[in-house]
């Protein structure tokens, strides 16, 4: 991790030098995500995922004649800190920023980037979003300067509910959500989409709880049992998901779980063998996909960093950015942005496209289930548990794709 070792603002001279002396071939990208605080470990995994592909891009000249350099900046999980860092990186001549640790920070940065670009023509910067899932960022808040490389939460819900609708055994669904806009959005769209696809499915529960506050999910499990639900769906992440799943297996709750984040860093450690077969997750990627695409990357990552490569959007961010640099034949952000619009590329999950209308990546999604490694359909496990994600269903981009309300203001080419 190349930490910025210079005092970030104390020496105007260095600032002037850096801004003036930017190397035409070397594209410096600032990564603004937490390197300290509760999400540091997760963010480190993201960073390594990107770094691995950056090394490949540079080695194989996938960005034309340019090389990419990642520089990490610690925003400590704070929106205000992120804004200060943004101004610092602008001072230091960075024209590209990657971020994805939080939709709150993403929205704030997008706003700041928009304002900067508006007030400083010729010195525009691009914001590459590797994971923020709030749909607003490519709808009401959409911006030419922002690109999202991961599915947004509406797309994921669309895919997940399509899958649920196909299963005739599902009759009563219980929704558990964290009580904040993402959780509220998941609950709302789950209800709406299920009603549209299978009006006979009954929503028997829709619970909200404050984020990160619940230590004991057993009352919720008891409630789920009392409601007679056969399926539970939840957008919970982090400890809220881990503890929910733990409580469910402790109480021997016999329902199927459909989740969004069960494959994220650390959650699998809490899963028991009892979850196998009953836990389904929606994700952009599983190493156990048909054909085991990406296995060199997965194995290489594990060998180098001793961690699992989990999130494809991080790889996609770098891959597509490199492609944009190559096609634009320049490192000017405006041209690169136009070059990235509409790119169709093949990566480990199949073909993906950066939709020009809203800069939302359209890519396949996978319904995976937690299963024991058997060497045939499941070869790669997660967190050394001996269990991994088996691909149950591949969902084509058009299924999850959502219409957009984006009305983007575009700069002249």
């Amino acid at each position: 991790m190349k930490l910025n070792r210079l005092a970030q603002y104390a020496l105007p001279l260095i600032t002037a030098l850096a801004a003036g002396g930017a190397n035409a071939d070397k594209v410096r990208v600032a990564v603004i995500d937490p390197s300290s605080g509760p999400f540091a470990a997760v963010a480190a995994n993201w960073y390594k995922s990107m770094l691995m592909q950056v090394d490949a891009v540079n080695a194989q000249k996938l960005a034309g004649e340019n090389t990419i350099e990642l520089v990490a900046f610690d925003n400590k999980g704070s929106a205000q800190e992120s804004q200060i860092l943004l101004r610092t990186v602008i001072d230091q001549g960075f024209r590209y920023v990657i971020q994805g640790g939080s939709s709150a920070i993403g929205a704030v940065l997008m706003d700041a980037v928009n304002k900067h670009n508006e007030r400083n023509q010729g010195k525009e910067i691009l914001l590459l979003n590797h994971s923020n899932a709030d749909p607003e960022l490519t709808n009401a808040k959409c911006s030419f300067w922002h690109f999202r490389f991961a599915p947004n939460s509406d797309m994921a819900t669309e895919a997940l509910t399509t899958e649920m609708a196909k299963n005739p055994a599902i009759k009563k669904v219980y929704i558990v959500s964290q009580n904040y806009p993402f959780g509220q959005a998941v609950s709302r769209s789950t209800r709406e989409y299920l009603k549209r696809k299978r009006a006979d499915i009954e929503i028997v529960g829709d619970d909200f709880h404050p984020i990160g506050q619940v230590k004991d999910f057993s009352p919720y499990i008891a409630k789920i049992k009392a409601s007679g639900a056969d399926t539970v769906t939840s957008g919970n992440w982090g400890p809220d998901l881990t503890l929910l799943l733990k409580a469910a297996s402790d109480a021997d709750l016999k329902v199927s779980f459909y989740t969004y984040f069960a494959n994220t860093y650390g959650v699998p450690l809490a899963l028991s063998p009892a979850s196998a077969g009953k836990l389904k997750n929606i994700a952009s990627f599983s190493p156990n996909n048909a054909g085991f695409n990406g296995k060199e990357f997965v194995e290489g990552f594990k060998g180098k960093y001793k961690e699992d490569f989990i999130l494809l959007p991080l790889y996609n961010t770098i891959a597509m950015f490199a492609e944009g640099l190559k096609r634009a034949k320049t490192i000017d952000p405006v041209k690169v942005a136009y070059a990235m619009e509409g790119i169709k590329m093949k990566t480990f999950s199949g073909e993906m496209e950066m939709r020009a209308a809203d800069h939302q990546m359209q890519a396949p999604l996978f319904i995976t289930s937690w299963a024991k490694v058997d060497g045939k359909s499941v070869r790669y496990d997660q967190n050394d548990t001996g269990y991994g994600w088996k691909v149950e269903q591949r969902i084509e981009p058009y299924v999850a794709s959502q219409p957009t309300s984006c009305q983007m203001a575009r700069p002249p080419r």
Binding site: Y9, S36, T88
Partner: protein, 413 residues
Amino acid sequence: MPQELTMKGSATRMTMWLRWGLYGLVMVLAPMWFSGGGAIAVMSQMGSAILFGLAFNILLGQGGMLSFGHSVYYGLGCFFAVHAMNLAGKGFIWLPLPLVPLAGALAGMVFGALFGLITTQRSGTAFAMLTFGLGELVFLSASMFPNFFGGEVGLTTTRVYAPQLLGLTFGPAIQVYYLIALWVLVGTLAMYGLTLTPLGLLLNAVRDNAERVAFIGYNAQRIRFASLALSGLFSGLAGALAAINFESATIESLSAAQSGTVLVFTFIGGAGYFVGPIVGAIVGTMMTVLVSGITMAWPLYLGLFFVLVVKFAPGGIVGMLIDGWRYVQRGEVARNWRVLVVIMGVGLTCALSAVTFIEMTYHRTMDTTGDASMVLAGIAINTASWILWVAVICVTAVTGAVTWNLSRLLKKT
């Protein structure tokens, strides 16, 4: 807790003018020395931190009331300011940007009064616990009201809107800096003036001996209540300045972390002195911004520094400076300079080797590139060498013990 008066002793009129003049002059000239965009952003943030710290110290230093949930007023001021800016931007109200901090101040005062009704019923530890509970309540509830608090994504606004006075758009960061500096000057003057009023003096009296205050005919609870409302007012003001600076408000401004930060900064500066929070805000902000760019271990350094201040220098940095000055004036330096030099030398060595030890440990545990060598202040260090580890630990322990004993010796003479 040093029971110092917060007034500046027997300063003459001339000295007062000089001090305030210097304060204003430094604020005016600072951007010329540190002119990078990042530097200006940090200094603007420092301005908010200074006001917030001063407001917090009305309770802590002057009133002896430790408030653990003070970020509530800061955060609410921030949110109300953002809403005010949005309303003004749409033309619903007439509020030119320079007056927006008043909206934050008003919100802070109202909520200070509202929550103060509850919290000032008790004092001491009960008060601290009450403020803690209330702070957590507000923070947790905020994410349940996305309409007002913008949920996870927070709220954004723009500070460039009509009516504009004197042709200032406040788009450029430097204009915002001067606006903030002006408000900081006004706020500092106001709060200093407060310490000279009967209410301020009575507050000091309540801190020193609440029972006696009752005997002289004043209601201690009402005094505390009024102080809390005023503290809320200035905290809201500080929050509004942050809102203008970052053009956004997120729930993190209401968090316990924010309350903790202002506490740490104020105490580091010196809660017993009026200028303490100012010094603390500047030093603290610099520590978190500067140091975090250099090392991953910055929370440890901040924590260690804080604990050392609590234990050995409860008067904070200002207290240390004043004690040091008195020490010099008494001629102790002239008498003991040899021992002092030795102590400083040994102490510095101890600090350096401790820092080396900490950095090496962090590198071993958290470095992502997987190799054992690291660079510390330009010197290459091989963390795999156990000899180096033993050496560093021994040096730290020995020099630490020597410093400790020498300073005890010095105190005795």
